[in-house]
């Protein structure tokens, strides 16, 4: 009897694949609910804080004071949830086996609602991606799935949340594949589709079938209009570069400020945004209502131009000052305004018949998205999904591709990756994300590390390395590498009477490094550029040393392989 019951129970046990599939659906539902609640909470907070007709004083005070609170929360409790959330999710997927702490989705929800609801010019899609990825990771962990499976759940959750937040299930799947995973042929496509579709069903069952935008019927009125769309692509590319460079430089400026100011930086941004809102309240929050108006040709040319540039500046300030919110929606906002403005100008002055400015606003959204987010395929399908009209594909692809190429030419590093670089996190390039079949840097590095403390004098350092015959040494600690120094430079400094000088004055300039997943070929190439020592640094913290490659380790590797 007991054996029979045991067998029955064993039959009822689900295999890992089955659990994963069931969890995919659950994640779809949960992420949709989270995304809907997030949107509702943002709107509710906005009404609560600003009311119907806010005064200038209220515009000034609300973002400043609320940013003080969020600044404290972000600095003390949720340091991982500043900014968009997309780069952090990518880092979690590629570098942390998809492990995301439980506080991340909840912290993102809270701080995102406060930041966007208090008027910061930021989007809700990026935070939704992080919330979705975090919840998926959490559910997988609670179910004791293998780390590889937990990792797979992150893009699934991200796609589901984005699908519910933006109401475009196909674009959400593509975004997860193109941006998060970095591989359009990923095996996870089935799971992301299931979660994305589930999420959109749940979202529509709660919020109804109303589309996010009321998109006008699209017509390519004259073949010469394709030239106009090409011009729009050029404009989109230039604005994308301006935005990316402006964002990165402003953020670098805030990052250079003293660590003690970190708590107050969001409030500094809040104060600036407050001043901006007094004069141009349309840039507040997500701003999709104005995108809708631009799509329907309801905004005059001057206002669209004004909103384009003020929104650009406001988003840069909000993001760079360390608030929680994304750049997904602002990029669409900028695209709609730039496209609408180009459309009006072309409509008025073109010698050939043209479509309505709303059509240009629509294509502009795709162009700016392709230029800023650097997900050109997602951008094409996103706009296609909004219009459900094949006619838009050719103009859209022309404008997107031009915008993408210009943006990549003048801002080679994609903005999400560049933001991670600023946080000392190096994501692998999309082409290298599929694990190389050949040897990697981690295969030839050694963990036997010798560090010279960075506070040492030249004489002190000489005493430490006297017994060591290496040509080059690490300065710093395993967690904080300061640089490299050569035996020769220490020796020469001693002989020229600079024995008491600080060692840091002798650091090698222009040294290179590799990450553990870099190929052996790249490691050897970079080794040649360094004076006999190549540090292998962690991707998730580029000051942390995971190992070193020296001539000895290379020789040892060659010997080992010869024996094999």
């Amino acid at each position: 009897m007991t054996t029979a019951r045991f067998r029955l129970l064993e039959r009822l046990r689900l295999r890992e694949n089955q659990i994963f599939f069931a969890l995919t659906i659950i994640i779809g539902v949960l992420c949709a609910l989270a995304a809907v609640l997030f949107s509702l909470a943002i709107e509710g907070t906005r009404h609560l804080l600003f009311g119907l007709e806010p005064s200038s004083l209220r515009f000034l005070i609300v973002p400043t004071l609320v940013s003080l609170v969020t600044g404290f929360l972000l600095a003390k409790f949720f340091p991982e949830v500043r900014g968009s959330g997309v780069p952090q999710t990518e880092a979690a997927f590629h570098l942390q086996q998809g492990a995301i702490p439980a506080r991340v989705p909840f912290g993102k929800f809270l701080t995102g609602v406060l930041c966007i609801g208090s008027g910061h010019s930021m989007g809700r899609e990026g935070p939704c991606v992080q919330i979705g990825g975090g919840l998926a990771s959490l559910l997988g962990k609670w179910l004791r799935l293998s780390p590889a499976r937990v990792k797979d759940l992150v893009p699934v959750g991200a796609a589901a949340a984005l699908s519910a937040a933006f109401n475009t299930p196909v674009a959400a799947v593509l975004f997860a594949l193109e941006e998060i995973i970095g591989d359009m042929n990923a095996a996870l496509i089935g799971s992301t589709v299931v979660a994305s579709v589930t999420a959109v069903i749940v979202e529509r069952s709660i919020l109804g079938n109303e589309p996010l935008f009321h998109v006008p019927e699209y017509h390519l009125v004259h073949p010469a209009e394709l030239l106009a769309y090409a011009a729009l692509g050029l404009a989109g590319g230039i604005i994308s570069v301006l935005f990316c460079k402006g964002l990165l430089r402003t953020r670098a400026f805030f990052l250079r400020m003293r660590a003690s100011t970190t708590v107050f930086q969001p409030a500094m941004g809040g104060l600036i945004i407050g001043v901006v809102l007094i004069f141009v309240p349309q840039v507040m929050g997500v701003g999709y209502e104005y995108v809708d108006q631009a799509l329907n040709g309801g905004l005059p040319l001057k206002l669209m131009l004004l909103l384009c540039f003020v929104k650009l500046a406001a988003t840069i300030i909000s993001y760079a000052s360390g608030n929680a919110g994304g750049i997904f929606a602002p990029s669409l906002f900028l695209g709609a305004m730039a496209g609408g403005a180009v459309g009006v100008v072309i409509h008025r002055f073109a010698i050939f018949p043209t479509g309505d400015p709303g059509a240009y606003a629509l294509v502009g959204m795709g162009a700016l998205f392709a230029g800023i987010i650097r997900a050109p395929i997602t951008s094409v399908f996103m706009i296609f999904e909004l219009t459900q009209d094949y006619q838009i594909l050719v103009p859209l692809m022309i404008a997107n591709m031009l915008s993408f190429l210009i943006s990549r030419r003048y801002q080679p590093r994609a903005v999400y990756h560049a933001l991670l670089d600023q946080d000392h996190v190096h994501l692998p390039e999309p082409g290298g994300r599929v694990v190389a079949a050949g040897r990697l840097a981690r295969d030839i590095m050694t963990h036997n590390l010798t560090f010279i403390p960075p506070g040492s004098s030249v004489e002190g350092a000489w005493k430490l390395i006297a017994e060591n015959q290496s040509k080059c040494f690490l300065v710093g600690s395993q967690e904080m590498l300061a640089g490299l120094v050569t035996r020769q430079s220490i020796k020469e400094a001693r002989q020229s009477g600079k024995a008491s000088d600080p060692l840091t004055s002798l650091l090698v300039s222009g040294w290179t490094h590799v990450h553990p997943d870099h190929s052996l070929e790249l490691a050897l190439e970079r080794f040649r550029q360094n004076p006999g020592l190549l540090p292998v640094l962690s991707r998730s913290g580029t000051h942390r040393v995971e190992g070193v490659i020296t001539l000895e380790t290379i020789m040892q590797f060659v010997e080992t392989n010869r024996e094999e």
Partner: protein
């Protein structure tokens, strides 16, 4: 450098490479004691509760949105009523922020834009509404007005017809009639009187007993030069309100144009009596009386009176002919080839000695030839020397009336 992370439960430093505290992770949790299938099942009621909570929150949110949208809409309506179109645009845009699918708000916003002369901005809104509801009368009417502003004639007529045969939420017959009247006015402005007449006939066939409306339609008939239609409508209006000044004046004008001078005099006298300040009506009455006093073809005239009028008309015509020639610097007694004026003058001079009351009374054939010569001279001089005045104008109108009758 990243900030140091410490476990909130045990206080141990968490390495950056690890997500959670390694010590606490080892201890295990409640969930780890449960089978995975049970945990999966536990997720379901949690999701159900979350679904209900989110649905409730969405419901509250939607009702709040609807209330806000209505508030902004009412503000916009008040601004539109007060003629503050730009403020109305702001308010109605806000209403649309909270209720983006509301077609009424969208329509009113487009109307506010039109009122503020933001034609280019209003058009996409209306086209979008038209795509959604191609049979909506109001939308078609606004698109027609927009086409009128843009000077797109065929487009305007098409939208007007869509509006006339379209769906209306309130008082469809009245709104359709109004649309048709607007179309007629547009056609009249565009100079297409024939098309306007057909629309006015359609309106007249179904007019309610409303003197104001009937007078408006009658006036349009007058502009379309359908005088019998106009007179008919004005008569209907006067039947309901015999002291309706505009209807009286319109009826007088219609009768005058139809050369029913006696009827015209009756209506115009009443109109002038009701409003002595109505100078055009008074002038028209004066002319009507003049025509009636000089018309030799007037019914019921005695033979002496008729011949006297013919003689006077002849003298007047010869004077007019001389004045016209002088104005043109043309000698009436010229050489071959003769101009029309010279030919007419020669005929008049040839006929002159016989144009006397005693002769004409006996010779009715001569009377008619004299009258024909008078009419010919009045037509000729009107052509060569511009419109006449006073008696000459009266004679010209009588000539034309006769020409029309023939």
């Amino acid at each position: 450098m990243e900030p140091e992370r410490r476990c909130s439960q045990c206080g141990q430093v968490i390495p950056w490479s690890q997500v959670e505290c390694p010590r606490c992770a080892e201890r295990g949790s409640f969930l780890e004691s449960l089978p995975r299938e049970t945990i999966l099942l536990l997720y379901i009621p949690v999701l159900a509760v979350l679904f209900v909570v989110t649905g409730y929150a969405a419901k509250i949110y939607h009702s709040k949105q609807t209330a806000l949208a209505k508030e902004w809409y009412l503000r916009g309506e008040a601004d539109l009523e007060a003629g503050k179109a730009r403020k109305a645009i702001e308010d109605l845009s806000e209403a649309l922020v909270y209720s983006r699918s509301n077609r009424l708000y969208r329509l009113r916003l487009a109307q506010a834009m039109l009122a503020a002369n933001q034609v280019e901005e209003a058009r996409p809104y209306l086209l979008r509404l038209w795509e959604q509801t191609p049979g909506n009368g109001t939308v078609n009417l606004e698109l027609a007005r927009l086409a009128v502003r843009r000077g797109a004639f065929p487009e305007a007529v098409r939208y007007f017809h869509n509006a006339i045969y379209g769906e209306w939420d309130e008082a469809p017959p009245r709104r359709r009639r109004e649309a048709r009247l607007e179309l007629a006015e547009f056609l009249l402005k565009a100079g297409d009187k024939t098309a306007a007449q057909s629309d006015l006939i359609a309106v007249a066939a179904d007019l309610p007993p409303d003197p104001e409306l009937q007078t408006r339609v009658g006036t349009l008939f007058l502009r379309a030069e359908d005088y019998s239609g106009a007179l008919e409508i004005f008569r209907q209006a006067l039947h309901l309100d015999p002291r309706h000044h505009t209807a009286l004046r319109g009826a007088g004008e219609a009768a005058f144009q139809m050369a029913n001078y006696r009827e015209a005099r009756r209506y115009l006298e009443l109109a002038v009596r009701l409003n002595p300040q109505d100078v055009p009506a008074a002038r028209r009455l004066e002319m009507t009386k003049l025509i009636l006093s000089v018309d030799p073809l007037e019914r019921g005239l005695s033979s002496p009176e008729r011949t006297r009028r013919v003689v006077r008309a002849y003298q007047q015509a010869v004077e007019r002919l001389r004045g016209c020639a002088q104005k043109r610097g043309e000698a009436l007694e010229g050489q071959q080839p003769m101009s029309d004026l010279q030919t007419a003058y020669a005929q008049a001079m040839q006929m002159g000695p016989r144009v006397r009351e005693t002769v004409l009374r006996r010779d009715s054939d001569l009377l008619m030839r004299t009258l024909e010569l008078v009419f010919e001279i009045e037509e000729l001089t009107a052509r060569d020397c511009g419109p006449p005045a006073d008696v000459d104008l009266a004679l010209l109108l009588i000539a034309r009336k006769r020409g029309g009758a023939e």
